[in-house]
């Protein structure tokens, strides 16, 4: 089989922090070379299957850390097939899935079941995370070793905070001895219980039960202390408030193995977007103030926040068509993440290499994967997109089985033209 040459492309290299014009030579499902000299490209065109990308951007495929798929238990909301299609359509080449299913993914048997389901039906790579404690109940640790052997890439109880610090410290210590990554949800659970919004004028005027943004910092402070105690590798799933950032910075400066993520929603929306109780804007943690959004955006630029994720959370109409307090949290995001985040690029708030450092490079590095880069030898997991193409988002055209996006009707710019996994197209516009 001939090698493939993608030429006339704008190559986004998050490692080098550059966008350069050139070509990408693919061979055997991997990137063989990055070619920038015009002569060389001309020569290669004759020897390969050459495709003119007409100036489209090429970036390493997105590694989405924290995707909820409804299997097992909630297949009516999302299956591996529909989530996989949504991922492919959104340029996500690796879904790192969450264990907050029912039942929770807390035994090697359940993990093997979902890996099989994923391999059979999803067109993109699927890497599962497993629960840190049995049933995500925060009482006993799961069989971390067996789960690791079965392919779990990280351990997390997702949005259920392990309140018993003894349980958490033991689970972290055990994970440390296995070299496993623990993902936490920094939140003081008692302070944030029942909250549907961030405390402040907006929540007060809307009369919504609210949590102080300080609860995030308190949760993070505790987790960092336990990291210091146990030496575990720790990733905070979402840091969404300005107040938590100094704690994160200190932990990193002290040399702890700590990284942090942020959701696409907290980077692009604020609490005011909830407006008249629009439940599609109800996410967890709740949307924050504009000051917080600006602060986390700056932290993304400086690299203090490492990873951007969609926190794809499919919910059916019934669980959203309720009074705000009672409505389910979460939004779908696999397919909308790239165009939504390109808003930040078009507004001049982040450049493309920074965006893909958070979307592809850093999550891959954190999980020890060799994808997420545009370099020779890396897997040819790629997203080819037109960063400028305008469109109006219609939620009913999404691939996801659930349509709960806050961006319905939004004017966006940027369309995925093609998604490649190991050199093979899994999505073409």
């Amino acid at each position: 089989m001939k090698d493939t040459l993608l030429y006339n492309a704008r190559l986004i290299d998050p490692e080098a922090g550059t966008v350069s014009e050139g070509a990408l030579l693919l061979s055997g499902g991997r990137i063989k070379a990055i070619v920038t000299s015009a002569d060389e490209i001309a020569t290669l065109q004759g020897q390969t299957e050459a495709r003119d990308l007409n100036g489209a951007h090429v970036a390493p495929g997105i590694v989405d850390l924290g995707v909820k798929v409804g299997e097992p238990g909630e297949r009516h909301k999302e299956s591996f097939k529909t989530a996989g299609m949504a991922a492919a359509a959104g340029g996500v080449t690796t879904m790192v899935t969450r264990p907050d299913t029912s039942p929770a993914i807390d035994t090697p048997e359940v993990l093997e079941f979902i890996r099989r389901r994923a391999n059979e039906t999803a067109p993109v790579n699927v890497l599962p995370m497993a629960a840190l404690t049995k049933g995500r109940e925060g009482r006993e640790m799961t069989e971390l070793g067996f789960l690791l052997d079965a392919g779990a890439v990280a351990f997390t109880d997702c949005d259920r905070v392990v309140t018993d610090t003894k349980v958490l410290s033991r689970a972290m210590g055990y994970a440390r001895s296995l070299g496993a990554l623990v993902m936490g949800h920094p939140q003081e659970p008692i302070l944030s219980k029942g909250a549907a919004a961030s405390s402040g004028k907006f929540a007060s005027l809307r009369g919504l039960p609210a949590v102080s943004p300080m609860a995030e910092r308190m949760g993070l402070d505790r987790d960092i202390a336990l990291v210091e105690m146990t030496g575990v590798s720790y990733h905070a799933d979402q840091i969404t408030t300005a107040r938590a950032l100094p704690a994160l910075e200190r932990a990193k400066n002290n040399g702890f193995d700590v990284t942090a993520g942020i959701s696409m929603h907290h980077l692009t929306l604020n609490e005011m977007d909830v407006a008249d109780y629009r439940t599609f804007f109800k996410v967890k943690p709740p949307l924050r103030s504009e000051d917080d959004r600006q602060a986390v955006l700056e932290a993304l630029r400086t690299g203090l926040i490492d990873v951007i994720g969609s926190f794809h959370t499919p919910q059916d109409e019934e669980s959203k068509r309720l009074p705000f307090e009672e409505a389910a949290s979460g939004a779908v995001g696999l397919e909308t993440m790239l165009p939504v985040l390109l808003r930040l690029y078009h507004a001049g708030e982040v450049d493309l290499p920074t965006l893909f450092r958070g979307l592809s490079l850093n999550p891959a590095k954190r999980l020890g994967l060799d994808c997420g880069r545009l370099s020779a030898g890396a897997p040819a997991d790629l997203v080819i997109f037109d960063a400028d193409k305008p469109f109006i988002l219609d939620r009913f055209k999404l691939q996801s089985k659930s349509k709960n996006t806050p961006f319905d009707g939004a004017r966006l710019q940027g369309k995925v033209l093609q998604t490649l996994v190991a050199g093979t197209p899994v999505w073409s516009a």
Binding site: G200, K201, S204, R206, G207, L208, P323
Partner: protein, 316 residues
């Protein structure tokens, strides 16, 4: 004089002139209600359904009486006893009701925003009779009516709202309304009962009653919910009464002609001293109840006029 609302979901969307329109009409309904023959026909032929997802005696009977005085067919639905217990969602309940073609739907619900949600799904005019901690517009309107009649104006007054601001929809609606009408507002209470972001509300905040009540024209007391009394938000009932309960000594800091208001039902000896509540020279609590019926008549009349797509120009 115009009133351009399809629903009455809160004070927030109302313009000052709409508030004045409504209060002017309510004045006429006060006169009507004081007559032996109290009937008018503004709502004749219309169906009014009162849907209360939360217990209420006062507000529900006030709405019922208001509807009946204007000739509407009034039905009360106690939603606690009905299908909501059988797992029916709010939207389904709304659609079911909608199929019965009501013209006016009066709704109270324990969750903020629930009445807005319901209003999106029905064809009739919806009146918010209190949603969670969000708004209670007719209470704010009846309070405004009471103040306007007692003070002769509804602007440039110093008004203190005291007590459990955080959990009170009455406080929110009053704050919005009194701001729109250009009054100076003080919020008085312990910080555990103040909502977050209080600094951005455009009101002066006091944690001391004597300072907070100094030279005010109006003292509005709020009800302290039983479930908040012990240990959670305040240490005890008696400590609360000692510091924030309205008695003669604290009231002495207000202007000599200051009026005392309470949305009811009162906890005598908790947030208000019984003798203050009964003092006919200071307390306007009974007037508030009377204004309640008149204001609700006016609100439903105006909404019904819009419903019938009549011109909303009023000959007041």
């Amino acid at each position: 004089m115009r009133f351009d609302q399809r629903h009455l979901l809160g004070i927030e969307p109302l313009r000052p002139d709409e508030i004045t329109t409504l209060l002017d009409l309510a004045d006429r309904y006060v006169t009507l209600s004081r007559q032996r023959e109290k009937h008018a026909s503004a709502l004749a032929g219309l169906t009014q359904i009162n849907m209360f997802f939360e217990n209420s005696t006062r507000t529900q009977s006030s709405f019922e009486l208001a509807g009946k005085r204007l000739g509407a067919d009034v039905m009360n639905m106690s939603m606690q006893a009905s299908s909501i217990k059988k797992g029916e969602t709010l939207i389904d309940t709304a659609l079911t009701l909608n199929a019965m073609h009501p013209d006016l739907l009066v709704v109270r619900h324990p969750h903020s925003g629930a009445v807005d949600l319901l209003a999106q799904k029905v064809n009739c005019a919806v009146i918010n009779a209190g949603d969670g901690k969000h708004e209670h517009p007719t209470q704010a309107l009846l309070d405004a009516q009471t103040i306007r009649r007692a003070k002769g104006r509804l602007h440039r007054l110093n008004i203190a709202i005291c007590g459990d601001i955080a959990h009170s929809r009455v406080a929110r609606s009053n704050l919005l309304l009194l701001h729109k009408m250009e009054n100076r507002i003080r919020l008085v209470g312990p910080s555990t009962l103040m909502p977050s972001g209080i600094a951005d509300f455009g009101a002066e905040v006091y944690d001391d009653m004597a300072e907070g009540l100094k030279d005010v024209d109006v003292v509005m007391m709020l009800r302290l919910q039983k479930e908040r009394m012990d240990g959670g938000f305040i240490p005890s009932e008696r400590e609360y009464y000692h510091r924030w309960g309205l008695d003669a000594e604290k009231l002495a800091h207000a202007k000599p002609d200051a009026i005392v208001m309470h949305p009811g039902p009162m906890n005598r000896g908790v947030e208000i001293d019984g003798t203050i509540a009964d003092d006919i020279n200071r307390s306007v609590i009974q007037e508030q109840v009377e204004m309640g019926v008149a204001v609700r008549m006016a609100a439903m009349d105006l909404l019904a006029r819009n419903l019938r797509a009549r011109p909303t120009e009023l000959a007041v």
